[in-house]
């Protein structure tokens, strides 16, 4: 603990939308330490999706620097970024984003296929990962045979299987009812206790409060401890 795993400095990203320039990220700086559980909260259109794309190495900033695990992301080409996503980042999406034609186990194995792990080891690690989320007995099920909560657990197992530096969760409970949401959040807290660095992106304050640290984003500007966003919420 203590070493920064993510260092973002003065990151800028603008989009042109119908002739108007939108500052999706406006001079954003952020430092995340190893083992942190950070929530990024913001309403829709605040730039949090853009930030998550940046954090997840799916997109590149116009300006500013991004160091992930000591590596300068800016210098990397598309293939190297794919490798970073494969090995350093575990994505957890709102809609789970499982491949519907693959079984739970095969979905979890997928990142390992792209990192070239042999079939035998892949199976072992995927089963191990499914066990961590409590779904070892559902390994052969297709996503359509699983409940929403179970599908999200499979997705979490998939994110975990490559032993990434960070887990990046984008509204992980957005498509779940409150009971399963709680369970998923508890699972994430457990994973954090085990030492995983987790970044949770949400618009829901109640969910954000589960995290140990919270930053808010609005109009592309980032503020520590919720800042204006919390005050705004308090007023309403």
């Amino acid at each position: 603990m203590g070493t920064p795993i993510i260092q973002i400095k003065n990151m800028m990203k603008t989009y042109k939308l119908g002739g108007e320039t939108v500052h999706a990220l406006n001079n954003v700086s952020l430092e995340i330490k190893k083992g942190e559980f950070l929530a990024i909260i913001g309403p829709s259109g605040s730039g949090k999706s853009t930030l998550m794309n940046m954090l997840g190495c799916l997109d590149r900033p116009d300006q500013g620097s991004y160091f992930l695990d000591g590596k300068d992301i800016e210098e990397m080409d598309d293939n190297q970024l794919a490798l970073i996503r494969n090995q350093k980042i575990g994505f957890i999406f709102q809609n789970f984003n499982l491949l519907t034609k693959l079984s739970a186990l095969e979905n979890v194995e997928l990142p390992l296929i792209y990192s070239g792990v042999s079939a035998g080891e892949r199976r072992l690690r995927a089963l191990d990962s499914l066990m961590k989320v409590g779904l070892k007995d559902r390994a052969g099920h297709m996503p359509s045979q699983l409940s929403g909560g179970q599908q999200q657990r499979v997705a979490i197992a998939r994110a975990l299987v490559g032993q990434p530096s960070i887990l990046l969760a984008d509204e992980p409970t957005g498509a779940l009812d409150s009971k399963t949401s709680r369970e998923i959040l508890e699972l994430m807290q457990e994973l954090n206790e085990l030492g995983h660095t987790i970044i949770l992106i949400t618009h829901d304050l109640a969910i954000a409060k589960q995290a140990k640290r919270m930053v808010s984003i609005q109009d592309g500007r980032l503020q520590e401890n919720g800042g204006d966003f919390l005050e705004n919420l308090a007023i309403h």
Binding site: L58, D78, N79, A82, R85, F93, N97, P111, G116
Partner: protein
């Protein structure tokens, strides 16, 4: 590691082919039809080539034919025997030919008549099935004996044994001494509907002593060019200045002409069938493009969890190739089946060659690669953010 990924991609591709059975089969149909038609058409063409060459071969590749084209030039017996004395010539057989009416009891039939000598059996490879062939004595004594072709035998005698029986040729009675084995006919030569008589008898029957054709048999097949030259030179010295009135042909020449004709035919048929393979490839490209846009989300997910451009490219390319290869295999099987069916139903002879099967399969693979590259490239270039957002 690369081969591991390719194996994995092939597994994934097979899975995706299986999960879309109807679509996959319809996609492969173009390739199936293309490969099958290449195999069937080329096999038919090659079968008929083989048929023709084997018939010509049956006549003997060491056979030379001297034909006269005009009455200016008379092939007389002494000159013919001079040809027979040539070094490379093993046997010689002069022929008079015509048509006669053969009659047995109530049955009459128009048949071609060949008057020749005893060597004919050897020179033309005319094997006797029953009885004996014409002998030199028959020629010398102008015996009224005949050897029947197999078809003539069945016309006149049905299934009964004709040897020792008598038939009438143009009203005169002849004794049947032998029956020829069936040879099959090709290009108007040979044929089973024939009657062979001694040369001297034949001259009288036809009413002409003009020998229009002389067959020569060379001593060995590899020396035929030499023998041909020998014969040509001899003919030139026997009939100076009349080279336009006769011709010397080699069985090999006839065969070369035939095979060049059938090669062209094979190429043309194969070419036409290949066009349908190409059309099949366009079908594959079409479906792969649909598949790419249907699976945009999948591509996004795969890219997010670490698939490189190359991985996506390979996945879709392999899928296209798996489709075309499966189509190729099914096409080969149905082509072979169809060919068998055609050959049993139509008595057309069919000759399958492994090289054609191999080439058409390889071609279908190439079609898969060529028409798979574009959709696969499109898939690999998708932006992961947009692909993930795609519903």
């Amino acid at each position: 590691m690369i081969s591991l990924r390719i194996l994995q991609s092939i597994k994934m591709a097979l899975k995706s082919v299986k999960s879309n059975k109807l679509r996959s089969i319809l996609t492969m149909l173009g390739i199936i039809i293309g490969v099958a038609s290449v195999i069937v058409l080329v096999s038919i063409a090659q079968g008929s080539t083989k048929n023709v060459t084997s018939r010509i071969n049956q006549l003997g590749t060491n056979l030379l034919t001297v034909n006269t084209y005009s009455t200016n030039l008379e092939l007389t017996e002494d000159k013919i025997s001079e040809l027979g004395d040539l070094n490379g010539v093993k046997a010689i057989s002069p022929v008079v030919s015509g048509r006669v009416t053969a009659k047995k009891d109530r049955t009459t039939s128009q048949v071609s008549l060949t008057g020749t000598n005893a060597a004919y059996s050897d020179v033309r490879d005319a094997k006797v099935k029953q009885g004996r062939f014409i002998t030199d004595l028959d020629v010398e004594y102008r015996q009224k004996v005949v050897v029947l072709g197999s078809e003539t035998t069945s016309t006149l005698f049905g299934a009964s044994n004709p040897v020792g029986e008598h038939i009438q040729l143009d009203g005169v009675s002849y004794k049947v001494v032998g029956v020829l084995a069936s040879k099959g006919s090709s290009m108007g030569q040979g044929g089973d509907n024939t009657i062979i008589v001694p040369l001297s008898t034949g001259e009288r029957l036809v009413g002409s002593t003009t020998i229009s054709t002389v067959y020569l048999k060379g001593k060995s097949e590899d020396q035929m060019d030499f023998v041909m030259n020998e014969v040509k030179m001899k003919m030139a010295s026997l009939y100076p200045g009349k080279s336009d009135d006769y011709g010397v042909t080699n069985q090999q020449d006839v065969m070369d002409t035939m095979s060049s004709v059938s090669e062209t035919m094979t190429l043309m048929l194969g070419g036409i069938a290949s066009i349908s393979l190409l059309v099949g490839g366009i079908g594959i490209m079409n479906i792969m493009l649909v598949s790419v846009s249907e699976r945009t989300k999948e591509i996004g997910i795969r890219k997010a969890i670490g698939a490189k451009r190359r991985d996506i490219l390979l996945q879709f390319l392999i899928e296209a190739v798996v489709l075309s290869a499966l189509g190729g295999i099914i096409g080969i099987l149905s082509g072979l089946g169809l060919g068998e069916l055609v050959s049993t139903l139509t008595s057309m002879s069919i000759s399958f060659s492994t090289s054609v099967i191999l080439y058409s399969f390889l071609f279908s693979l190439v079609v898969g690669v060529v028409f798979g590259v574009f959709p696969a490239n499109k898939a690999s270039k998708l932006n992961p953010i947009q692909a993930l957002r795609y519903q």
